[in-house]
């Protein structure tokens, strides 16, 4: 069978199954078993089948594109499968479609997302168990001081999860930017809904709003990028954009296409990256992710660690061919700042999930840094390995929270014996994220947990970049190095504070218990993945690295030396980073700082040779800065939110005081003119008429006196009148006046 038709079909099925599950639960959720318990099976079934279909699609892909050792870096470029399912709108030659663009990156993402999602679905059986019956939520106090009691929302949780899986897979399979944007927003709304799952809690609904609105800020930039691309190139389709930006005729080198100026191309790249900044919680839009931990822990694991926040990195990777060196440098700078900033905050955080959240931000910063420095594979690989170990870490923390009923690490401690599986899997996760492994020794190439490999690639790329750009390059490398050290420190700090030592809160400790199998099972699966994710299958060339290498955008194998605006930046080719001299240095330095971090953590929190409180006092200003998260929330409230609210109040006032004032007063003015008119009528016109009438009346009154009623008087008047007439006639009458 032709893979060009079967793979889109399989992926479409895998994509739409969660949608079906969502629709069914949306409509019939509460009626699925008692309190909707079977909805969980439906959602999980859908995502597991999706997972199977994704792996099947991967299998079909491998029949055509088996990675061979000889291929090497960029040697074998597998042609992506792209096409369209249906048309959304058509204006002349502009077309907007629902389509697909499938290469090995898409397939790997499908497998990763569905696999992790399956694990987390299963985990949620146990974690969300209490939603099956009525829930008392102490964090949502009523006005009478009582805690809220509400119906469980078990099925709603799985409903949103299904919608999220559908949206995420749609984002991955998308064949054009508009479709990416559509699903970009949809995952955003799923995130909003799931962060606000405990919608009675003020903090949860605030966090949901914050997440969505901050993401919208990023999306605003993305829309600008979309506009530039759409107007310049007349298409959103990845295949067409790439072929216009990197035409075959130019040997797949970045060209300024016909419709776009170079500045607009940079703007387009920055715009798209702006969207990624929002979604992947990069500086300066990183503030939403830690708050997003208000959601249930499986949500944090799936959406805010493994998949959705990685979508930004994915899009940067997908859109990599369009980024000019200037944009790449911006990406690197943003990634660098983020990874450092977030790591510093993670060191001081005490909420277990917030530590992990900042760690996620920091790791995403690593990915962005790698991509920005030209290390496409490094960034992508870290995306995958991070998804495995970070979802593991989150699920472990969920298991701990489930057992202790608190998020605060200072109340935990000594849980190792009570929760052996959780503590061991979490240790594996910590080792993976810290990049534990054996660096290259004489003759033996380096080997370690998944994080070791991906972080090694990033470090190697950073080192290579710093040698290529001796001026400012080392900043990136050393920042990454410090970040890696801090990663190791805060992760082991977390582990020690939670599992090691003596229990700090007897009450919490006595209640703690190991989680049920539905929760520990996924932990073990993910722990295995966290170890092996970056390995090739034994004795073959089959593994994540070669697979991703197939998807490397054409034309990006060799480095770029400078763009039009910044001619001095050189983006070195990635394969050079794996040259022996470079990679050994990178590996050893990464190993050294990770070890240093581990040792420090052990000294402070494991062996308690050093007192953290002392360090806090010594570095008091720094500590304050970190613990207040660099005052970003306060800064944004001061600079953005309050001004917007104030302006909106002004606008409202303008409406009421200016426009309405004008309208009302012009109406009043007209009414005043009418009153004036009325006054003129009454004073002048009416009075004239009335005066006449009055005269007539008074004359009549006067004449009335003649009417005495006395007949003889009348006769007298008659006679007098007659005589008078005669007299007058005699005096004045003549024939001339009579006309005779």
């Amino acid at each position: 069978m032709d893979i060009n038709s079967i793979i889109p079909l399989l992926l479409a099925l895998a994509w739409l199954l969660p949608l079906g599950s969502f629709a069914l639960i949306f409509l019939f959720g509460p009626r699925m078993g008692r309190a909707g318990r079977y909805s969980a099976y439906l959602a999980t079934g859908a995502i597991v089948v999706s997972c199977v279909l994704s792996f099947a699609a991967l299998g079909f892909w491998l029949t055509e594109h088996y990675p061979h050792a000889a291929a090497g870096h960029g040697g074998h470029v597998a042609q992506p499968i792209s096409g369209e399912w249906y048309t959304l709108a058509e204006f002349g030659r502009l077309r907007l479609t629902i389509g697909y663009y499938i290469d090995s990156l898409t397939l790997a993402m499908f497998c990763m997302v569905t696999l992790v999602a399956s694990c987390i679905h299963v985990y949620s059986f146990g974690y969300m168990h209490e939603e099956l019956s009525d829930v008392t939520d102490p964090l949502a106090p009523l006005s009478n001081g009582q805690p809220l009691r509400r119906r469980g929302r078990y099925c709603r949780f799985f409903q949103y999860f299904s919608l999220f899986c559908f949206s995420m897979l749609g984002l991955v399979v998308a064949g054009n930017l508009a479709m990416v944007f559509v699903f970009w927003e949809l995952v955003g709304i799923c995130s909003y809904l799931l962060i606000g799952f405990y919608r009675e809690r003020r903090s949860a609904s605030n966090a949901g709003n914050k997440a969505f609105i901050v993401n919208r800020v990023g999306d605003f930039g993305m829309i600008v990028g979309l506009m530039a691309i759409w107007t310049g190139l007349g298409t959103f389709s990845f295949a067409e954009i790439f072929s216009q930006v990197r035409p075959i005729a130019a040997g797949h080198q970045l060209q300024t296409p016909e419709g776009l100026s170079y500045g607009l191309l940079v703007l387009a790249g920055l715009g798209i990256f702006c969207g990624c900044v929002g979604k992947s919680a990069q500086f300066p839009l990183h503030v939403w992710l830690p708050d997003a931990m208000e959601g249930p822990t499986p949500v944090s694991a799936l959406i805010h660690a493994a998949t959705m926040v990685a979508a930004g990195v994915y899009l940067v990777g997908r859109f990599f061919p369009v980024f000019t060196p200037e944009v790449l440098l911006v990406i690197a700078v943003v990634g660098c700042i983020t990874l450092f900033l977030a790591a510093t905050i993670a060191i001081t955080a005490t909420d277990i999930k917030r530590v992990l959240a900042y760690s996620t931000v920091s790791q995403l910063g690593f990915m962005m840094l790698a991509l920005g420095l030209g290390g496409w594979l490094a960034g992508m690989l870290h995306l995958f390995t991070h998804a495995c170990f970070k979802s593991l870490l989150f699920l472990c923390s969920g298991s701990v929270i489930h057992a202790c009923g608190t998020n605060e690490m200072p109340e935990m401690g000594g849980l190792r014996r009570k929760m052996p599986i959780t503590s061991i899997t979490m240790l594996i996760g910590c080792l993976a994220i810290a990049g534990a492994g054996i660096p290259t020794l004489i003759g033996m190439s380096g080997f370690g947990l998944s994080g070791f490999h991906s972080k090694d690639y990033i470090m190697a790329q950073g080192l290579l970049f710093s040698t290529a750009n001796p001026g400012f390059g080392p900043i990136f490398f050393y920042a990454a190095l410090i970040g890696a050290g801090m990663t190791s420190f805060y992760m082991f700090r977390l582990w020690y504070m939670t599992f090691a030592g003596r229990p700090r809160d007897e009450h919490v400790h006595s209640h703690a218990h190991e989680s049920p199998l539905s929760m520990t099972g996924p932990l073990m699966v993910l722990a295995v993945l966290a170890v092996v994710a970056a390995w090739n299958l034994p004795f073959t060339e089959l593994g994540l690295k070669p697979l991703l290498e197939q998807a490397r955008p054409v034309g990006t194998v060799e480095g770029v030396a400078g763009g039009m605006l910044l001619p001095n930046v050189a983006m070195p080719a990635e394969h050079l980073a794996h040259e022996y001299a470079n990679s050994v240095k990178a590996e050893w330095s990464a190993f050294a700082v990770a070890l240093l971090g581990f040792l420090l953590a052990t000294a402070f929190y494991g062996l308690r040779k050093l007192d953290p409180a002392d360090a806090r006092r010594t570095f008091s200003p720094l500590y304050k800065l970190f613990v207040h998260k660099w005052w970003f929330d306060e800064l944004y409230a001061l600079l953005l939110i309050r001004p917007v609210l104030r302006i909106s109040n002004w606008v409202e006032a303008i409406d009421k005081r200016v426009i309405d004032w004008l309208a009302d007063n012009s109406a009043r003015a007209v009414a005043a003119v009418a009153r004036l008119d009325d006054w003129i009528d009454r004073i002048f016109v009416d009075n004239t008429v009335n005066l006449l009438a009055r005269w007539t009346y008074s004359t009549g009154l006067w004449l009335r006196r003649l009417q005495t009623g006395n007949v003889r008087q009348y006769v007298m008047w008659l006679g007098a009148g007659l005589v008078g007439l005669f007299v007058l006639m005699n005096l004045y009458w003549n024939y001339a006046t009579a006309g005779g």
Partner: protein, 114 residues
């Protein structure tokens, strides 16, 4: 030339008519009795009648003029009929006046006062 010296002509009739008329008017103005007033009216009417008849007479007409022909006689007849009718109505009014005021003194009634 005086009325007394010339032959009977139009002027004599007119003088008699005028005397009758003035007598009637004075009668109307001075009598307080309703019946007296009515009599005065009759005198006035007849004074006027005399004028009409005189002007209508072919004998009294100055030579060479046409006068008013038969119209004078016609109007005089009309006035006589009218006077009869008027007398009937007037007497009825007088009667009802008497009923209302128990007297026939016209000065006692001033219902028509404005």
């Amino acid at each position: 030339m005086s009325l007394f010296t010339e032959p009977i002509g139009l002027s004599h009739f007119l003088v008699v008519g005028a005397v009758l008329f003035v007598c009637g008017v004075i009668c109307m103005a001075t009598k307080r009795n309703v019946l007296g007033v009515l009599m005065g009216i009759e005198l006035v009417l007849n004074g006027a009648n005399l004028n009409f008849v005189a002007f209508g007479s072919s004998v009294l007409r100055p030579a060479g003029t046409e006068g008013i022909g038969m119209d004078g006689q016609m109007i005089a007849l009309f006035v006589i009929v009218l006077a009869a009718a008027e007398a009937a109505v007037a007497l009825a009014i007088a009667l009802s006046y008497y009923h209302a005021h128990a007297t026939v003194d016209v000065d006692r009634g001033d219902e028509l006062k404005g």
